[in-house]
C-alpha cells in the first residue's frame, strides 16, 4: 500500500451502519430517530456496542477474581491404590511433567494457565489503550483482539478432562476420581473471559485518536 493513498472510508463517517448479525449495510438514519431494526434479521441496529468498555471491564474483573480460587482450590480428587490425593491445575501439570509427559504438561499449562492470563493482559491492554485514545499500533491491537477471540474457548480443556476422568475412573479396587470445587471456579473463568471478549467492540480501537494513526 502506498503511503500517499488516502485513508480508507469508515462506515461511521460514510453515514452507513452494518448489522452486527447479518452484515447488511444500511444507511444510518438521522440521530433523533429511535433505534431501528435490521430489515433482514431484526437485530437492533447500533453503530457500536453500547457501553462496551464498561461491560468488558466488569466481566474481566469478575474473571480475574474467579481465577484465584480456580488455581488455589483442588479441581479433582483421585482415590488410588496409594491413598487419596487432591490435585490443583498446577499440580496436575507438574505431575505430568514429572512422569515424563512434557507434551501433555505443556498443553494443559497453555490451555488452563497461559491462555486465561494472556486474555487478561490482552483485554486489559486493549481497554487501557482505548481509554487513552491511543492511535498506537491499531492493526496489531486488532490482531491481538482476534487472537483473544480464537484462543478463548480452549481453556475449557481441563473441565473436559476432569469430567471424563471422573466418569471413567470409578473402580473401588483400583481407584475413583471426583471433581472438586476448583473446577466450578475454573469453568467460571472460561465463561466470564469469553463474555468479556465478546463484549469488547474492536472498532473502538479505530475510533479514538488521530484518524491517520500517526
Amino acid at each position: 500500500m502506498s503511503s500517499h493513498a488516502p485513508s480508507p472510508v469508515r462506515a461511521i463517517t460514510a453515514g452507513v451502519v452494518a448489522c452486527r448479525t447479518c452484515g447488511l449495510v444500511l444507511r444510518r438514519l438521522p440521530v433523533p430517530t429511535p433505534l431501528s431494526s435490521c430489515p433482514r434479521c431484526a437485530t437492533l441496529l447500533r453503530e457500536r456496542l453500547p457501553r462496551s468498555g464498561e461491560h468488558t471491564l466488569a466481566w474481566l474483573i469478575a474473571s480475574v477474581i474467579l481465577y484465584i480460587p480456580a488455581n488455589v482450590l483442588p479441581v479433582m480428587y483421585v482415590n488410588g491404590v496409594g491413598g487419596g490425593e487432591e490435585s490443583t491445575i498446577l499440580s496436575g501439570v507438574l505431575s505430568f511433567w514429572k512422569s515424563g509427559a512434557w507434551d501433555i504438561a505443556a498443553l494443559i499449562f497453555t490451555a488452563s494457565i497461559a491462555v486465561p492470563a494472556t486474555k487478561f493482559l490482552a483485554l486489559g491492554l486493549l481497554l487501557w489503550t482505548v481509554r487513552r485514545d491511543s492511535s498506537w499500533a491499531r492493526r496489531q491491537r486488532t490482531a491481538l483482539y482476534r487472537l483473544v477471540e480464537i484462543i478463548g474457548y480452549w481453556s475449557m480443556l481441563d473441565v473436559v478432562v476432569v469430567a471424563l476422568t471422573a466418569a471413567l475412573l470409578k473402580f473401588k479396587a483400583l481407584g475413583t476420581a471426583e471433581p472438586r470445587l476448583g473446577i466450578v471456579f475454573f469453568c467460571g473463568v472460561v465463561v466470564t473471559t469469553m463474555i468479556a471478549a465478546l463484549s469488547f467492540d474492536p472498532r473502538l480501537i479505530w475510533d479514538r485518536g488521530r484518524p491517520d494513526g500517526r
Partner: protein
C-alpha cells in the same frame, strides 16, 4: 480481493449489497467476486472479510448430513472404554456431563452439556433445516430465527475442545489403567473436520440462501 471504498459515497441506498463493512475496524469495502482459493482481507486491519466458497448448496447439504450422522455415532458409541478384571466403564459426551449434574458441579456440567452437546447439535440441525429447503430452491420456514440462532450459538460450540480433552483424558488415565479408544472418538475427530469446513463458509452467504 475486496477494494476499500476510497471516496465517500454521496448517497448510501438502503441494503447496498455490494458494500461490506469490516466488523473489526468499521472500514467500508466494495465486494467483488472471489476466484478459487482467494481470500478477501481488510485493507486497514488485515482481518479476513470473505473467502471463496468452493461448495454448492447440495454439497454443503451433503457435508451437513455426514456431520449429523457422525454426531449420532459420536454420541451413541463410547469415546473410551476401561476394562479391569471383569469390570467395565465407558464414557460418552452426555454421560460425562450427566454424571456431574448434581450439587455444585452442576454448573460446569451444564456448561459442558451446552457447549459440547446441545449447541453443536443445534448448529447441525439448523444447517440441515436451512440447506434441505434451499436444495429444493425454497426458503425454510423460520429462516430468520434459524440464522440468528446459528450466528449467536457459534462462539459457544466447542466440539474441537472436547476432542482434545478426550485425548488428554486417555493419556492421563492410561497411567492407572488400560484405556481403549472407542468408536465415538473417531467419529468425533471426523465430525470436527466437517464442522470446521462448514464454519469456513462466510456468515453473509447463509443470508442469501433462497
Amino acid at each position: 480481493m475486496t477494494v476499500a471504498v476510497r471516496s465517500e459515497p454521496q448517497r448510501a441506498p438502503v441494503g447496498w449489497s455490494e458494500l461490506l463493512v469490516c466488523p473489526h475496524c468499521d472500514v467500508l469495502h466494495r465486494t467483488v467476486v472471489l476466484g478459487r482459493h482467494e481470500i478477501a482481507a481488510c485493507i486497514a486491519c488485515g482481518g479476513i472479510l470473505a473467502r471463496h466458497r468452493s461448495f454448492s448448496v447440495d454439497q454443503l447439504l451433503a457435508l451437513t448430513v455426514a456431520a449429523a450422522l457422525l454426531f449420532l455415532i459420536a454420541n451413541a458409541y463410547p469415546l473410551m472404554i476401561i476394562e479391569v478384571g471383569g469390570m467395565h466403564t465407558e464414557a460418552t459426551v452426555w454421560g460425562a456431563a450427566l454424571l456431574m449434574l448434581h450439587g455444585w458441579t452442576a454448573w460446569p456440567a451444564a456448561v459442558l452439556a451446552l457447549t459440547m452437546f446441545i449447541l453443536p447439535l443445534l448448529q447441525i440441525a439448523l444447517l440441515l433445516w436451512l440447506l434441505t429447503f434451499a436444495s429444493f430452491g425454497r426458503r425454510a420456514p423460520g429462516f430468520r430465527g434459524a440464522l440468528v440462532a446459528l450466528h449467536r450459538s457459534r462462539p459457544w460450540s466447542m466440539t474441537e475442545v472436547f476432542l482434545l480433552g478426550a485425548l488428554v483424558a486417555i493419556v492421563k488415565l492410561s497411567s492407572w489403567v488400560h484405556v481403549t479408544p472407542g468408536i465415538g472418538i473417531w467419529a468425533l475427530a471426523s465430525l470436527m473436520i466437517l464442522l470446521t469446513v462448514l464454519s469456513m463458509v462466510e456468515p453473509r452467504f447463509w443470508w442469501t440462501l433462497s
